[in-house]
């Protein structure tokens, strides 16, 4: 067992555990887009960066625990870095609900870069899904740097592809489009609107799963929230 300290809390964990797993074990939620428990860790989206005792920022999904390690999962530096990374993601993938949600969660309220909608964040989940779970190796990365993209060999329909849909299933950005009450700008912000969303008003409705605010109920005079509902307006505080 290895003892380490996450946000000041000491924890004993088995060797080989990653920091992401360790933090989850204690209930600290770290955002991660290129991580999936069924696939090998990749460390590419960098959203899961955490601050180590020596001041380095490392990706929690690939960093193994070791004795005496001190980790802060939500330090100001980490939060600042995550916000910038989310802003970068939004600037290339504004139509993704997942990223819009992340932006709302992290109070990213503007995008200062020129926007180009690429609908792919090159997290590589689909490539790993195809290779590691489907054993097909039908897709991969081509080019490098800002020209990098994911495709089949020579951009032609691949014979290795069995059309299993695993790549679509695992994609964190193409699965859901954000559909707010009006066509969203670069930052839609529906989910972050301080006006109450549906659940506190109508506890049976869960419209945030679909088109948040589309029914228009929540923008009308809100009813007092039901007593047993958790207060969703309170932000989750990082330690």
């Amino acid at each position: 067992m290895t003892r380490l300290y996450i946000n000041g809390i000491d924890v004993d964990l088995a060797e080989g555990t990653t920091l992401l797993e360790a933090a989850a074990h204690l209930g600290f939620e770290i955002p991660a887009l290129c991580f999936h428990p069924g696939l090998s860790p990749y460390g590419a989206c960098r959203l899961c960066v955490v601050e180590l005792g020596d001041g380095r920022l490392v990706s929690a999904c690939t960093y193994p625990v070791h004795e005496g390690l001190r980790v802060r999962t939500h330090s100001p530096r980490v939060q600042r870095a995550r916000r910038m990374l989310i802003e970068l993601l939004l600037s290339v993938c504004p139509s993704s609900k997942r990223i819009q949600d992340l932006a709302a969660e992290h109070q990213v309220e503007r995008v200062r870069f020129s926007v180009r909608d690429e609908r792919c964040i090159l997290c590589g989940l689909c490539v790993r899904m195809c290779a590691e779970q489907m054993m097909a190796h039908a897709i991969g990365f081509v080019n490098r740097g800002y020209r990098r993209r994911i495709t089949t060999p020579f951009d032609r329909p691949s014979e290795a592809c069995r059309r299993c849909g695993g790549c679509l299933y695992i994609c964190p950005v193409c699965e859901l489009r954000c559909q707010g009450p009006e066509a969203p700008g670069v930052v839609c912000g529906s989910c972050a609107t301080p006006a109450p969303t549906c659940p506190p008003i109508y506890e049976d409705l869960a419209c945030y799963m679909g088109a948040a605010g589309a029914c228009g109920t929540c923008v009308r005079e809100p009813r007092p929230p039901a007593r047993h509902m958790p207060d969703l307006t309170r932000r989750r505080e990082g330690v």
Partner: protein
């Protein structure tokens, strides 16, 4: 013939020395720079003329590695007279043979000129370019023929390996390297002895040593020159390292763009095997070791060690996060020591002369010497080796000879795209790992680009960012998207479209890219931006607030105009203008049509009266 003992090696070296010493020798530089300037032709002419003059038997002709002063190539040096000829053309060869070799007359016009006194000097050492250098790794460069192992042996080559294998335990070797204070010459400056100790302690039946010869910085040619000029020093160093950590396999990773280095290495490896310095039971010991060459396929990121490992394994060279470090899990999962070319080349001489000698060179934390490739707006471009701790001023102004007047040096870019720009005000900084890092630059592998007052620092940052956004492997978000966005912002500044908020965003983004990137490439990529903002913020502000490029470089912000008071109306600029944008008549001041002008600057170059001005 295989050398089995130290005594055999000693006898062989002695024999080789006595067999050669009395012959006069002509050394033609065969470094890439001199070859580009025609040294192969010079060599061929020498061969023909020596034959013709009947001197082929009595004069030895050698094609050596880089002499260093690439600016004045092709270089030819004569021993034992110690005459150093520069800018030698094939047509000068006859004069050298008939005058100097036959009659001992020195040809004045081929001698190099001391820039300070204007005097022509005969010996290399009389030039400030060479006088201030201290050549340790490069000591045989320009002296020996790299394709003949006997030359290296005659000068004491492979004696360090023999000593280590017959008289020292692996731990003693590591301890010795630790005491010398040698640090990695590839960039980060990790202590070499410590790296070896970690690899030795790592469990594993197979271990590897790798020579990182993926030198990719624009304008850098240190490693190439060592591989081309003295490949055996690298091979010997690797064999010593392999013995120390318990490795049996060695890999030299060289860029495919270095065909000459690869060819030289192939010859050197074959000769080392022939003499038994590679292969089974080297020097009669139980130690067996061999080296293979792996050619890199042109990716800057492959110089990062985990990406290099991927490339060696035949995968796309993309880095992975460390730990595990290569000393624990390297090539195919085996413990691996990766050192840079120059680091390996330092090892034999540390064994030969002892760690104390090495530790006496340099500063408290940075020992030994460092090779730099000095390029850019400086009088003497070329390859230099200096003791650590020398100031930038000495290196640039005394060895480099400063900027050719009337230009003035403004800054120097150290460490390639991962390094930073150090302004002239900080030129008294000693060259060591810590000082350079503190200044926001880094030692890097030793690229040194000198910039004068006609260099726009925003444009420089933009150039490096363009290089990096292309060379980033694209795996992690901050490096892929961050370098691209920084390039976009820098372009906007260069084109006068940016606001103060953009500069703020650029700084913020640069910081995040530095902190969150996966590998060394991304973590250092913002350095050119951060250092130019730190030291040349006024230039950024001039672009943003005044829409003006102080250095007169950024095309969107400058105009070429003809000063009517200086223009003599000579018509010289009219026809070179590719746009036909200049109008004028003989003896009447000419005018540039701004709508047609593409700001190529040709008119300024052809004008002999300095009438074309940039505003």
């Amino acid at each position: 013939m295989k050398v089995r003992t130290l005594e055999q090696l000693g006898t062989l070296a002695e024999h080789l020395r006595t067999a050669r010493d009395h012959k006069p020798c002509v050394r033609v530089c065969g470094g890439t720079g001199c070859r580009a300037r025609g040294s192969e032709e010079v060599l061929a002419r020498f061969q023909a003329l020596l034959q013709e003059e009947g001197l082929a038997e009595t004069v030895e002709l050698k094609f050596t590695g880089c002499h260093g002063l690439c600016e004045r190539g092709p270089l030819v040096s004569l021993a034992p007279q110690e005459i150093f000829y520069q800018s030698v053309e094939a047509d000068d060869v006859r004069a050298i043979v008939t005058e100097t070799l036959r009659r001992g007359v020195v040809i004045e016009r081929l001698l190099a000129q001391d820039p300070a006194t204007g005097r022509r000097v005969r010996r290399e050492q009389e030039l400030p370019f060479y006088r201030r250098q201290y050549r340790v790794v490069l000591r045989f460069n320009g002296v020996i023929d790299p394709t003949d192992i006997r030359e290296y042996l005659a000068l004491g080559g492979y004696r360090a390996l023999g000593t280590v294998l017959t008289r020292m335990a692996p731990d003693e070797v590591i301890e010795l390297i630790e005491r010398s204070g040698l640090r990695g010459r590839g960039g980060a400056g990790f202590p070499t002895g410590k790296k070896w100790r970690l690899a030795r302690a790592a469990p594993g039946a197979h271990k590897y040593v790798i020579c990182n010869g993926d030198e990719g910085d624009p304008g850098a040619f240190m490693d190439r020159s060592v591989l081309e000029g003295n490949p055996h020093s690298v091979i010997e160093g690797m064999a010593i390292g392999a013995y120390a950590i318990g490795a049996t396999h060695g890999i030299i990773y060289v860029r495919e763009e270095y065909p000459l280095a690869i060819r030289t290495l192939e010859i050197a490896l074959a000769q080392a095997r022939e003499y038994g310095f590679l292969g089974e039971e080297i020097f009669g010991s139980a130690f067996s070791f061999d080296i293979e060459i792996v050619r890199g396929a042109g990716a800057f990121v492959a110089g990062e060690e985990t990406a290099l490992i991927a490339a060696v394994e035949g995968k796309v060279s993309e880095p992975r996060q460390r730990p595990p470090y290569p000393v624990h899990r390297g090539v195919w999962g085996h413990p691996t020591v990766i050192n840079n070319v120059e680091t390996w080349a330092n090892v034999p001489i540390i064994i030969e002369r002892g760690p104390e000698w090495f530790a006496n060179l340099g500063t408290a934390t940075s020992k030994g010497t460092k090779i730099f490739s000095l390029v850019g707006k400086v009088a003497n471009t070329g390859l230099v080796e200096i003791p650590m701790g020398m100031t930038l001023r000495e290196l640039i102004e005394e060895i480099g000879g400063g900027a050719p007047p009337p230009r003035e040096i403004k800054a120097v870019q150290i460490g390639g795209p991962s390094g930073g720009c150090v302004p002239k005000a900080l030129f008294d900084l000693p060259i060591d790992y810590e000082s350079l890092t503190e200044a926001g630059a880094m030692m890097g592998s030793g690229g040194l680009i000198v910039m004068d007052d006609r260099t726009c620092m925003v444009d420089v940052a933009r150039y490096f960012m363009d290089f990096l956004r292309d060379e980033s492997c694209g795996k992690c978000l901050p490096c892929r998207e961050g370098t691209h966005r920084m390039y976009e912002l820098l372009t906007a500044i260069c084109e006068g479209r940016a606001t103060e908020a953009d500069l703020e965003l650029l700084e913020e983004l640069a910081q995040v890219v530095k902190e969150t990137s996966l590998c060394g490439l991304g973590q250092t990529a913002p350095n050119p931006v951060l250092t130019t903002i730190r030291y040349f913020r006024h230039e950024y502000e001039a672009h943003i607030r005044e829409r003006r490029c102080p250095a007169g470089v950024c095309k969107a912000l400058i105009r070429y105009v003809i000063n009517p008071e200086r223009c003599t109306g000579c018509l010289a600029c009219l026809s070179p203008c590719p746009q036909g944008a200049i109008r004028g008549q003989l003896k009447q001041p000419h005018v540039i049509d701004q709508d047609r002008c593409i700001k190529c600057g040709i008119c300024q170059e052809v004008c002999q009266f300095g009438a074309v001005e940039v505003v």
